[in-house]
């Protein structure tokens, strides 16, 4: 019984959790969302460029995209974040001031873009080749066909994978704390961690964890729902129809056209 009570106090101390709540809401949640959304937006833009480069007809451009992707997918996130965050600190200071916050976002964007680029590329490449051919047959140039028809179809297909990527960015955003954030810039993890250290109790960190789950779990389910919807299609259930109805549909539209069956030779 004592042990159970000890565990409860360590992880689920109600008072400690309540105490940290305002900071988690006001500072942590806000910053986690700002960092994650910025990283996703920049990562998506870079990822799209990367995907287009990845299917380029020039082997050189394809190669560059490949190297970039291999590097940022292959490195542990924390290595990239520290290298970018500390290595570019001077440049960043001139542009954005002393805070490492923008660099954290930038590093997360670089990592995200490598994954998002691969997601986009696979989506675009999964679009049936006939789509590009149909576009070309209609007189579209390759860039226009890609922009109007192929890329939008590819993106739609990978929306679930993109949401998964957003979830993973939200979790990775906690690593930005390694760069040393100002008090007002702390994200969920850092707020929870600081409070845990100050109170000598893990409950604030558990509370931070609950915040992550509140964001990520519903998103996961949204993904599954969206995924299912796309899999089954937007088709509405309709009563079965005889193909013969269709035959009459055409003949009523063109009833002055001689039917092949009855026509004799070329007109």
């Amino acid at each position: 019984m004592d042990n159970l009570e000890l565990l409860r106090q360590t992880f689920l101390d109600g008072q400690a959790m309540l105490d940290v709540l305002p900071q988690l809401l006001g500072t942590g949640l806000k910053n986690t969302l700002i960092i994650s959304i910025w990283a996703t937006v920049i990562g998506t833009i870079l990822g799209m460029i990367l995907a287009i480069a990845g299917i380029s007809r020039s082997w050189f451009i394809r190669g560059l995209a490949r190297i970039y992707t291999d590097i940022f997918r292959g490195l542990p996130a924390i290595v990239t974040i520290l290298l970018v965050g500390q290595g570019l600190a001077r440049v960043s200071r001139d542009l954005f001031g002393a805070s490492p916050y923008p660099l954290g976002i930038f590093a997360l964007s670089l990592i995200a873009s490598a994954y998002i680029g691969e997601i986009f590329r696979s989506g675009i490449q999964s679009v049936d080749k006939g789509q590009l051919e149909a576009c070309k047959a209609l007189g579209m140039s390759y860039p226009r066909a890609m922009a109007l028809v192929v890329v939008p179809q590819g993106i739609r297909r990978v929306l679930p994978a993109l949401v998964n990527q957003f979830i993973s960015i939200i979790k990775d955003s906690s690593l930005v704390y390694f760069l040393g954030l100002l008090t007002a810039e702390r994200e969920l993890f850092r707020v929870g961690q600081d409070a845990a250290v100050n109170t000598g109790n893990l409950s604030p960190l558990v509370m931070a964890g609950i915040f992550y789950l509140i964001i990520t779990v519903p998103l996961t389910h949204v993904v599954n729902h969206v995924d299912n919807k796309y899999r089954t299609g937007r088709r509405r259930p309709t009563a079965p129809r005889s193909g013969l109805d269709e035959v009459s549909e055409l003949s009523s539209a063109r009833d002055t056209t001689p039917a092949i069956r009855t026509s004799t030779g070329a007109q």
């Binding site: 007189g139 179809q153 092949i260």
Partner: protein
């Protein structure tokens, strides 16, 4: 979208739907001179020469692997010829951009290749709007008229997945016609269709032929070739084996290969 729920029968203003037939087409004259088409190092179409007079229909028949489809894709340069020349209205088109040639040549595919996330109307209006740079309203007007011609104006708001194969292929034909082509290419346009839907599409194609469109039709429908074609080309192993009017080709084949082919398919 709400149209999905309405009854499919075209009850409203049936009289208006007959107007589509009045369309007349200005077919161009097509000529291939010594065309070679290769996959890698292997020529799949060899030394092909063919004249298709303006407003006539040429049906290309032959066993699988004979290079029929490749030939068709060579005509609008989806497959770039290795050698030879293509003339449209007497002028070589190989030095122009492929896009400018394809503006003048419509193509219909075996698998329809409609854009799945566009409605029938948007499928037809897309190229007039974005390639011919028409205002959106005008492009949609043309699209509606073309859909009307193929008997699908009541389904213009349907997406391809809500249409039967026959309807999809008719949308694809309307989509090609919306660009006002001088030549139409059909690549086994009815091979993927359920049997009862084949005739609808063939009738539509016969209507185009009757309306003066220049057409090159790769087909397995010998009945269609016999009745609609002005000229039939029998290909095998990448070469023209026989060319002639359908009554000659089908009644008195000169080569053993054509006789054997006809005995298998008829």
């Amino acid at each position: 979208m709400q149209k999905t729920m309405t009854q499919p029968a075209n009850t409203a203003e049936p009289a208006e739907k007959k107007t589509g037939n009045a369309a007349e087409y200005k077919g161009g004259e097509l000529e291939l001179r010594d065309i070679f088409l290769a996959h890698g190092d292997i020529d799949v179409v060899k030394n092909m020469s063919l004249k298709v007079a303006a407003g006539t229909t040429t049906c290309v028949i032959g066993p699988s692997g004979s290079g029929k489809s490749t030939l068709l894709r060579g005509i609008n340069r989806l497959h770039e010829p290795r050698r030879g020349d293509i003339l449209l209205d007497g002028r070589s088109v190989l030095r122009d951009k492929p896009e400018s040639l394809r503006l003048r040549i419509g193509m219909v595919f075996q698998q329809f290749n409609l854009f799945p996330d566009h409605t029938a109307l948007e499928n037809v209006a897309l190229a007039p709007q974005h390639v011919k740079r028409m205002p959106k309203g005008r492009a949609r007007e043309i699209a509606r008229a073309r859909l009307c011609e193929v008997g699908l104006d009541s389904r213009s708001d349907h997406r391809p997945r809500d249409l039967s194969g026959g309807q999809q292929q008719r949308v694809a034909i309307a989509r090609a016609l919306a660009m006002d082509p001088e030549v139409m290419l059909f690549d086994e346009a009815t091979s993927a269709l359920d049997p009862e839907l084949v005739n609808g599409v063939l009738e539509l194609m016969a209507g185009l032929a009757g309306g003066g469109m220049t057409m090159v039709v790769v087909t397995h429908e010998m009945g269609f070739a016999r009745k609609v074609a002005d000229q039939v080309v029998f290909m095998d192993e990448g070469e023209v084996v026989e060319v002639g009017p359908p009554e000659v080709l089908f009644e008195t084949p000169r080569t053993d290969r054509l006789s054997r082919f006809l005995s298998e398919v008829l």
